[in-house]
Symmetry: C2
Subunit: 198 residues, 2 copies
């Protein structure tokens, strides 16, 4: 089977591997797309999730100081190339993320960042709330999970409703930007200071 440009394109889409690597893999498997995917995955050239596996070490550090200087936020958002980092759109994304942190008071970037003991404490509190309502155990577990999700959505930036469009989450906004730029975009960290409050 001759290797077509379309196949190479498809293979790139699926694996995120480089053009030459895709051509080589297809040549090796004589045009068999599925086998080519395997070849690339084995060699490590393919990534589990096309974009999100790629290293994002460029980006921007920016800040938002709320008028009155009583609340301020510092944020770092990464992308893959300095080129994208310098675009107006990326700058706007970073500023919007900073403003989100200031306005909605997130404590963590993502739920994986919430310390285990905090999750445990939250779970305990929520379990106590549901207790004594006489509901069957599996329902109780569902309720607790639901309430925990709500907790994560309050304190985890990426799960919060976006202040400029609350039908979408902050994660959605970041994914949009990633899709537009074709690069892996990651909200790396933030700091939020509120005057007089640790």
């Amino acid at each position: 089977m001759p290797i077509t440009a379309d196949q190479v394109k498809q293979l790139r889409e699926i694996t995120g591997a480089g053009m030459m690597e895709c051509k080589k893999a297809l040549a090796e498997t004589e045009g068999n797309l599925d086998k080519a995917v395997d070849v690339l995955r084995k060699s490590g050239a393919a990534l589990a999730d096309k974009r999100s596996g790629r290293t994002a070490n460029e980006g921007r550090v920016d800040a938002y100081i709320h008028p009155g200087h009583r609340v301020g936020v510092l944020v770092e958002v990464n992308c893959e190339t300095d080129f994208v980092a310098r675009t107006d759109e990326f700058g706007e994304l970073v500023r919007n993320v900073a403003m989100q942190v200031a306005a909605a008071g997130a404590e963590f970037v993502r739920r994986e960042d919430v310390p285990q003991d905090r999750v445990a404490r939250e779970r305990e509190i929520l379990a106590a709330q549901v207790q004594g309502q006489g509901k069957p155990p599996q329902i109780v577990e569902k309720i607790i999970t639901g309430k925990l999700d709500k907790f994560f959505a309050e304190v985890c930036l990426l799960e919060q409703p976006y202040i400029r469009d609350d039908k979408r989450t902050v994660a959605d906004i970041v994914k949009d930007a990633a899709a537009k730029t074709g690069e892996n975009i990651v909200v790396r960290r933030f700091a939020r200071f509120r005057l007089g409050q640790d």
Copy 2:
């Protein structure tokens, strides 16, 4: 002994207590300044360090983003009144502190903030450097203390030489502002992000 205005002034200078309280204390001790100081200290009206004991819960949060957006700093500096917080001079102080953090890369505000294990680790490294130089123990201890001071002066913001005038420390600059405003001014905290570096 009649109570003079000068005595009241002196007593205020020493204790930082209010005018009426100073007059009262001097009346109680019949003009004996030293005893009046004790009276005020016992009653809690005097403060160990005139200004630095006063609560500073007002102030400003500000940021400095270095051109290029690869380094950014968020800082909170406290003072006692919203009035001082809103002055241009205070704003300038806070911005200068932020710039200092960005430029000189402090890790902590003051040496008391350095975790014990970090100090211990530093001490170990410095002790190893001095070891084997065949110096007497008390000299070795002096050398280590000197090197530790140097370490604190590098990583502790308040002990760093001020970038705009390296004959003075950041603590000096803050003290100046405190003297000028008559208020307790405290650098409460800061965050420093350098792109790609935790």
